[in-house]
Symmetry: C2
Subunit: 206 residues, 2 copies
């Protein structure tokens, strides 16, 4: 129906605006005027600013999954998928999928000092993402592609830190070497724990 389509148009714009102005800086008045709607007409779709924020977080997560996670899932599980996930994250920031930089990095640092259900929703999205990253690492380990002593949560922490670092260097510092640096850091870390094909076969005893 039409109401649902309008809602999607609103949310798409809300997500872009929030990535620049923050989830608190996102205002119903500005959103309405940019979309040439009345404030109350737009407001009626959500019922409160908090609901709008929660809906924006959900919409941003769909976009993130679409652009970062899904393409990587086409790669075979193990080392190739893990590398694909890292590459598509860096691409996602490089192509400014959200105009103000990574929506979730911004939201994480905006809400990390405040309580509330918006913060909880941001934290949930981030731990879902860290969980996905961890699973990709665990699979690579179970496939015998990386050192079995690797702790998935530790490596996920480090990779995510490099992603945040790339987002920071690129968007705040406008450093052209941001992605080169992040790639170098990630590659060194992953190559350091990689097990060669020959070694993988040997370990499997095949």
């Amino acid at each position: 129906m039409k109401g649902e389509r309008t809602r999607q148009v609103i949310l798409d714009h809300a997500v872009n605006l929030a990535s620049v102005e923050g989830l608190e800086g996102l205002t119903i008045g500005r959103l309405a005027s940019e979309l040439k709607m009345s404030k109350s007409g737009l407001f009626a779709h959500f019922g409160s600013k908090e609901e709008l924020q929660l809906a924006a977080i959900e919409a941003a997560s769909f976009r993130f999954i679409d652009v970062v996670v899904m393409p990587a899932l086409k790669k075979p599980r193990g080392y190739p998928r893990l590398v694909a996930l890292c590459k598509s994250w860096l691409n996602y920031v490089q192509h400014s999928v959200f105009p103000g930089g990574c929506f979730f990095a911004a939201a994480s640092f905006e809400f990390d000092g405040r309580p509330g259900i918006v913060r909880d929703a941001v934290a949930k999205q981030m731990s879902d993402w860290m969980g996905a990253l961890e699973r990709a690492i665990r699979m690579a380990r179970d496939e015998g592609h990386i050192d079995p002593k690797v702790e998935p949560a530790q490596l996920a922490f480090e990779l995510n830190a490099f992603f945040f670092g790339a987002n920071f260097s690129f968007n705040l510092q406008h450093d052209k070497k941001a992605f080169e640096r992040a790639k170098k850091a990630i590659t060194r870390r992953l190559e350091g724990i990689r097990i060669s094909h020959a070694e993988t076969r040997k370990r499997r005893g095949s």
Copy 2:
């Protein structure tokens, strides 16, 4: 004089408030009511919200230098000072020197998608900090404490990413292992490029 003292009290509070609510979320009205001053009396110290934001950034930088940079400078240049800098950064977040988490990490992600002089001031503070980190690395290299092939800017990028990662895990995720993870990541990276005392003497030909 008394005006200057009042100004410091205001800025001290402004910095704390901004670390939680963001530099845009910092409002003159709330600041005034928490300090039991009139809005206009407080306002007169700065002349505009933008000037208040710039003054808060400067005050935050003094606090940061005091707590993170100065103590590390007491250590001998080279590897010990580099390690001290990393440790005091993690301590700084662990002890919540700013109640809402690292002021500069928050400000970086808040302003990374917007133009203006506040953004420029945040970017300047961050590149000053990255510069200090780079210098500490370069000294360690020049002292023969770490592999001469290390690129200071690359390593500074990586260490800073781990700091942001620790801030994220600790403040948003309330992960008790945040600092353990960051320490492990930093230690592995630094130990990997470290040159032993014996080796340092040999390379110097002494």
